[in-house]
């Protein structure tokens, strides 16, 4: 008999895939707001998958940062766009071909790495998502990547401030 976490895994995995699909190819609506809302649902289901892996911190941050902040800004920008023009936009042939090629390439890489990896029957090591070990790792073993990402974000912020200045001297 399937256990509850297994059932939940399939539920969340299905939700993630279905919502993700509806973000890019929604047969019922071409409204960008609808796509954005499905992206929020995708992120929410991903957070559910993280919870099933006991990565509670990651799940909470996923919701907090992506669903709560980034997607709200997306909505903000979409609402200020010219929506009717966006809804009329058709898929271009060149875009379709390029898209299919890149998706195919990524799929090949993924399948290859999946085939090469060996699956043992042992239980996966528990991803302990507790905050204290995670913070300790970030400031010891992964200090350099962590700091580089911080600098990257800082650069982006400085760039935005520079761009939003009306009169550059």
């Amino acid at each position: 008999m399937a256990q509850l976490p297994d059932i939940l895994f399939y539920v969340f995995a299905f939700l993630t895939l279905a919502c993700g699909f509806l973000v890019v190819l929604n047969p019922f609506s071409t409204n960008p707001v609808t796509s954005a809302m499905f992206l929020v649902l995708t992120i929410g289901s991903l957070a559910g998958l993280f919870v099933l892996l006991h990565a509670f911190f990651l799940a909470a941050v996923q919701i907090l940062v992506y669903a709560g902040a980034v997607m709200v800004l997306f909505l903000f920008v979409i609402m200020l766009l010219d929506l009717p023009a966006e809804e009329r936009r058709k898929v271009k042939k060149a875009g379709l071909v390029l898209g299919l090629i890149s998706v195919g390439a990524i799929l090949t890489i993924m399948l290859q790495s999946l085939l090469q990896s060996s699956f043992s029957s042992e239980a996966a090591p528990t991803l302990e998502g507790s905050t204290i070990p995670l913070g300790r790792l970030l400031f010891t073993q992964y200090l350099l990547p962590f700091e580089i990402i911080s600098v990257l974000l800082l650069v982006a912020m400085v760039g935005v401030i520079l761009l939003s200045k009306k009169d550059l001297k």
Binding site: M37, V61, A67, G68, V72, L75, G129
Partner: protein, 349 residues
């Protein structure tokens, strides 16, 4: 009660969780209904009027009358709205506050049961995650209405809630530096013993910022710009009528209740009182119930203050709101984090 012991642990967990969820939900809905009544009575007292006094003694049955009215009114859907979002938005408004109360420890324990629905070790992050979703209801309502004033209300609320969310999140970081855990149960444990252990006394600046951000996040005066009547004719809920409109109202009061509960947990000692041993987990059912009472009393007091402020303060201008959020609260909160960290480091040395 032997049949409970015979259940599997999973079944016991499911049973007790279901009971707790039903109880918390009913209490929350009761408080929401009567918060409206209190709001009207307080505003009446401040403006030297009587307030509702026709239905029942002191108008106590007014919430029931209001509910009947909301349900029986014509539920009108204007022709120009975006139907799906128009139906979804009032429901989405309610969800975040219902999810937030799930991790609030509203008492120590009754028997062997902890009085919290979900005892998460990332408690506060969960709360902020859910609170940050609160903006969707209002934004979608504004978008669904497909007309000017609601749309402006929706856009305003996006900017406002994002801005104050940052201040709110940063204001509580010093608390977790002090406590050393994100678990709300341990935050309460830290505040036991002496009334001056309450974090409102240890972190008054954090308390102030959190308080202001709480008003902004729940769209209450002096930060009710998404619905400011004089400028936006009511804002995001203009096109709504009947029970859908009432749901926005209930959502606002539910958010207020959840925010008050959060405030009590973080700054006012939660279910503890530093007298008569009320700050230790309860050994008997009586003490356990008393502690739930203490929590409710503190929470209702905070909620009363929020209502009181609404009838005493004018609204901020939009530029003042942004200035306060970004140029006052966020730097102050950052300074508070640094100062707390330095002091803790000094003490540890």
């Amino acid at each position: 009660m032997t049949w409970i012991d015979q259940l599997t642990p999973l079944a016991q967990f499911a049973l007790f969780s279901a009971i707790k969820i039903i109880c918390v939900f009913s209490v929350l809905m009761f408080i929401v209904a009567y918060a409206v009544w209190v709001e009207r009575k307080v505003s009446a007292a401040i403006q030297d009027r009587h307030g509702p006094n026709r239905v029942g003694i002191f108008g106590l049955l007014q919430p029931a009358a209001d509910a009947v009215k909301a349900f029986l009114k014509e539920d009108f859907t204007p022709g120009h709205v975006r139907k799906v979002y128009f139906w979804l938005a009032p429901a989405i408004v309610m969800i975040p506050s219902l999810l937030t109360v799930a991790i609030i420890p509203f008492g120590s324990r009754l028997g062997a049961q902890k009085m919290v629905i979900a005892d998460l070790n990332v408690g506060i992050l969960y709360t902020f995650g859910i609170v940050s979703l609160g903006v969707y209801g209002i934004v979608l309502a504004g978008y669904a209405a497909n007309s000017k004033y609601p749309f402006l209300g929706g856009i305003r609320s996006t900017a406002q809630m994002i801005s104050y969310e940052i201040a709110m999140g940063m204001s509580v970081i010093p608390i977790f530096l002090l406590v050393g855990s994100l678990n709300l149960g341990q935050v309460i444990e830290y505040q036991t013993g002496n009334v001056f252990h309450w974090l409102i006394f240890k972190q008054p600046l954090a308390f102030g910022i959190f308080l202001a951000a709480m008003f902004a996040e729940t769209n209450r005066l002096p930060f009710d710009l998404p619905e400011s009547e004089q400028e936006l004719a009511g804002g995001y809920n203009v096109e709504y009528s009947s029970i859908k409109f009432a749901l926005f109202f209930m959502g606002e009061y539910a958010a207020m209740t959840a925010a008050s509960a959060m405030m009590v947990t973080l700054f006012l000692g939660g279910w503890t009182l530093p007298i008569a041993g009320l700050d230790q987990p309860a050994q008997t059912i009586g003490i356990g119930l008393l502690q739930i009472g203490v929590f409710l009393a503190k929470m209702l007091f905070v909620e009363f203050m929020v209502i009181w402020v609404r009838w005493m303060w004018p609204r901020f201008r939009y530029d003042q709101l942004m200035d306060l959020g970004w140029r006052r609260f966020i730097p102050l909160a950052l300074a508070n984090i640094v100062a707390t960290a330095v002091v803790l480091w000094g003490v540890a040395k």
